[in-house]
């Protein structure tokens, strides 16, 4: 694996009043790596991710993402990353083409670049005949594949995927992961959260957050060895106590 660091955090913390949502987390993520970011509901994953994508300021600690400081250079962080979540992906009332044009513009691509990217993207996804259809009319699985591609329009070094496969059928879920693998092979770093523990096995390394801290961080194979179990699901159940 390439040792260029795409994410580097040191003692990153976030407090809300007396509540410490993220407690002194330090970790690195490398170029071309598929990094799984796991944890129970309420463990602090979302808060940590918000800091890494530049939309929430850390209370203390440092984080460099795609070469920029999240505290002082949040706008540059946003420009240099891709982001996709299950909840917000694209505009249902715009066509596929309009969505690509819109997000291309947001990411600062010029008209020619948008044109090139649109052609490339629809041909890769086999959506040539659907380009003028409303995104809202697409099946969920296609929406997810499309919004993954849209998150990559500006060739970011890293893309953040927040539960990208929730509720998607098992085959589409696997097709989605094949897209992830292919993108990582091209050198893009993938930072992904999921509640499907079989997907944790597809990552190069995973971290498991418990009560605001990173309790474990290693390759799935090593974690299973360390906890003497046969699946990531068991690792998760051993580590992540239910805290509320």
């Amino acid at each position: 694996m390439n040792q260029e660091k795409i994410i580097s955090t040191q003692n990153l913390s976030k407090q809300f009043g007396h509540f410490t949502a993220v407690n002194n987390i330090s970790f690195d993520v490398y170029k071309g790596e598929i990094f799984g970011f796991l944890g129970a509901n309420g463990a602090g994953k979302t808060t940590a991710m918000k800091m890494l994508i530049g939309i929430s300021k850390p209370t203390s600690g440092e984080a460099l993402v795609a070469g920029f400081d999240v505290k002082h250079n949040a706008e540059m962080v946003k420009k240099n990353i891709g982001y996709m979540s299950q909840k917000f992906s694209m505009y249902d009332d715009l066509t596929i083409k309009e969505n690509i044009t819109f997000f291309g513009g947001i990411y600062g691509l010029n008209r020619n670049q948008i044109k090139e990217k649109t052609a490339l993207l629809v041909s890769e996804l086999g959506l040539e005949n659907e380009i003028n259809k409303l995104v809202g009319a697409l099946p969920l699985g296609w929406k997810q594949k499309l919004s993954f591609s849209v998150a990559l329009l500006h060739d970011p070094k890293i893309v953040f995927l927040d539960e990208p496969t929730g509720g998607v059928d098992p085959i589409t879920r696997r097709q989605f992961w094949e897209m992830i693998y292919a993108q990582a092979n091209k050198g893009t770093t993938i930072f992904v959260t999921t509640h499907y523990m079989d997907e944790a096995e597809y990552c190069d390394r995973v971290s498991i957050m418990v009560e605001g801290k990173i309790e474990a961080l290693d390759a799935p194979k090593n974690l299973k060895q360390q906890y003497n179990v046969t699946s990531m699901n068991e690792v998760f159940l051993k580590l992540a106590r239910n805290i509320e």
């Binding site: 129970a40 309420g42 463990a43 998607v168 098992p170 085959i171 292919a182 092979n185 159940l237 509320e244």
Partner: protein
Amino acid sequence: MSIQVENISKSYPKTLAVSDISFEVKEGELFGLIGPDGAGKTTLFRILTTVLLADEGKATVAGLDVIQDYKEIRKNIGYMPGKFSLYQDLTITENLNFFATIFGTTLEENYDLIKEIYIQIEPFKNRRAGALSGGMKQKLALCCALIHKPKILFLDEPTTGVDPVSRKEFWEMLKRLQKKGITILVSTPYMDEAALCDRIALIQKGQILKIDSPENIVSHYNKTIYKVRTKNKHQLILDLKKYPSHYSAFAFGEHVHYIDQNIHFDPTELEKYLKEQLHSEIDIAVAKTSIEDVFMDFTMLNQ
């Protein structure tokens, strides 16, 4: 029969949501509707809980007709919709009292039934529902659905977006409710939860692909699945898909599940092929079939 569905169909202006579906749920049964987003699960739930009319077909719940006896049905069922639908501005206590009053009962009257779940959220009883975490909202919604001691519980994707620990606890809770005599119809996109039901219906694109016990669905499956592992999983999937007699190849935890078209398939031939493709640390063995394997195969055959 606790629930009886006969030839139910429902279309929306542009989509066929449920197409000619029939099934039965026995009294005291824990019955699962297993299928992805958009399969028609929610439509079916809404029809059975009398909040949506079917275009065609007939259904009874607790022996009552979903159209004629809708008022009576509502007294006998608890419904937890997929989308959180309690009052965000009311506290836990206020929500519980509200639903108890609607059903002409009190929190105390059926406290036995909800006690175990309620004590987990009791420390936050004066917190507004909108300010609760996902797991707590889920527990409150379940309490509200149980407050009038329903005969049948309808749970529409209660565990979607919930982490594995909370999911496990939730299912343990369902098992205990079942032991108290409550019939449960539950839907989920998680295939591992299917194994915890007495019987399941695999549903996709508005149609039921199969109804049986999870054990039977797995044991009646007649294809041999091989689990294959090499050092590079992504390349392995790509190469397996290029193998001339391949039927399917899907990532499955740390392995790739592979099915061959040929019943006389020889794993050593495949191993030879993978070596030629420069794979290392090759491991091929027969896999244990899971519901997810079966579901994926049905999906492929259904397309």
